[in-house]
Amino acid sequence: MTMPDLGRALVARTMAAMCFAMALAAAPAFAADTKPATTIVIDNFSFSPAQLSVAAGSTVTWENHDDMPHTIVNDATPREFKSAPLDSGEHFSQTFSKPGTYKYFCSIHPHMTGTIVVK
């Protein structure tokens, strides 16, 4: 094996290890028996994480870190939840008791969207 080949193999092995590590890190968010992350940060006109899985009964909190107001509005009829406008630094919490998929968006900047999956 030449040196460049060795280097490439190392990179490949490292990347595979990293992918494995990331998969492990991500796994708890989807496992019902582990307490999931329940805070969603609004930054630069986007929800992070935009997709979130939680166990039924979890409370999700959105925090606005932007300099502009945003809202969290369930994209469904009828609406299950709708926040008042959140100015910078303000937050909104919603408890999800029923399993299901809840799409939501910012009614001020509707290109901002996210999804909560409740298991």
């Binding site: 930054d43 630069n44 006109f45 986007s46 932007d66 300099d67 502009m68 107001p69 809202t71 509005v73 994209d75 008042a84 406008p85 100015d87 910078s88 799409k103 939501y104 968006f105 009614s107 001020i108 900047h109 509707p110 290109h111 901002m112 969207t113």
Partner: protein
């Protein structure tokens, strides 16, 4: 504001019709310079302003109006802790202008958070000019109560959430595209407003110059940041038969221009804070510029119309140079 005949920045005069001119205007899309074009009975001609005798000719039916936008009264963060004072400076520019405008249009985001005291502050400053003011709402003006607090204050009871009026042969249309926004979508006009628009335009001859104003761009300026209107194509289709259509918007806090057929689009400066050019930042929030740069990125717009050998001139003036 600068005198249009002497201070307007004009591109190299083009003497040929059609494609060349359009190409030139399209290429200027991000130039940010004041731009002029001619109208002859509503049909765009080939001359841009050149300081000629024609340009100096004053028609007694000529008039100008002013556009201000995105005053965001109530915002108080970097880069502008006091948008009240920058709005006041913008209004002072209007008041001290040599040529008195017929009226002012405000293309929305008057307030930052739809609060009564924010509306009060803004209207007191703007109405100190003594001029008529025609408002359309931005999304920041309709944050609560489905926008009713805005409409109760700014709409006449007899007119709905959109309206039109005439001035010296020019037909003005104020549209609302910040209500009932859909998840994953952009600005929105809706069927009811589009039906009204069709009816409103139906009564006009194709040679009537049309000026449309709304908060969110009625063109796809940068949909990734929400800078467009979902159903604007339906509105623009209704305007296609007209020889001259000018569309003025706010929302993006920067000068942007585009020509599509006979329709010309102009985005205006804010009086409160600038926003980044499309795609040049992580998001479309306020640009944190140094204090000595702020006023170079805020301003007001003057639009002048002269019938006949007319020139409809769009000139953006910054609060400081």
């Amino acid at each position: 504001m600068p005198d249009l005949d002497t201070s307007a920045v004009s591109p190299e005069p083009l003497t040929e019709h059609g494609a060349r001119r359009r190409t030139a205007l399209t290429c200027m899309a991000w130039a940010g310079a004041g731009m002029l074009w001619t109208l002859n009975g509503g049909v765009p001609g080939s001359k841009l302003i050149g300081g000629t005798a024609q340009a100096a000719e004053v028609d007694r039916h000529a008039f100008s109006f002013v556009q201000i936008s995105d005053s965001h009264i109530g915002f108080s963060k970097d880069p502008n802790l006091d948008p009240t004072s920058t709005l006041q400076e913008a209004v002072d520019k209007i008041r001290t202008n040599k040529e008195k405008p017929k009226f002012i249009i405000h293309t929305g985001d008057i307030s930052h958070l739809s609060k009564p005291d924010q509306f009060d502050t803004a209207t007191q400053i703007i109405q100190s000019t003594g001029l008529d003011v025609h408002y359309v709402p931005g999304e920041h003006d309709v944050l609560v109560d489905d926008g009713n607090s805005y409409f109760e204050r700014f709409s006449k009871p007899s007119v709905p959430k959109w309206y039109s009026f005439d001035q010296s042969g020019v037909h003005f249309i104020g549209l609302t595209n910040v209500l009932d926004l859909r998840g994953g979508g952009l600005g929105f006009l809706g069927d009811e407003q589009l039906a009204w628009l069709q009816q409103d335009l139906h009564a006009r001859t194709s040679s009537t110059p049309i000026v449309v104003f709304a908060h969110i761009p009625l063109w796809s300026l940068y949909p990734q940041w929400g800078w467009g209107t979902d159903d604007s194509a339906r509105a623009l289709t209704l305007m296609k038969r007209f020889g001259s259509v000018t569309v003025l918007n706010g929302h993006v806090h920067q000068v942007a221009q585009k020509v599509e057929g006979e329709i010309s689009f102009y985005s205006a400066l804010s009086t409160a804070f600038p926003q980044p050019a499309p795609g040049t930042a992580a998001g479309p929030g306020p640009m944190k510029v140094p204090a000595d740069q702020l006023r170079k990125m805020l301003g007001v717009r003057s639009v002048k119309y002269v019938p006949g050998k007319a020139q409809l001139a769009v000139v953006d003036t910054r609060l400081s140079v």
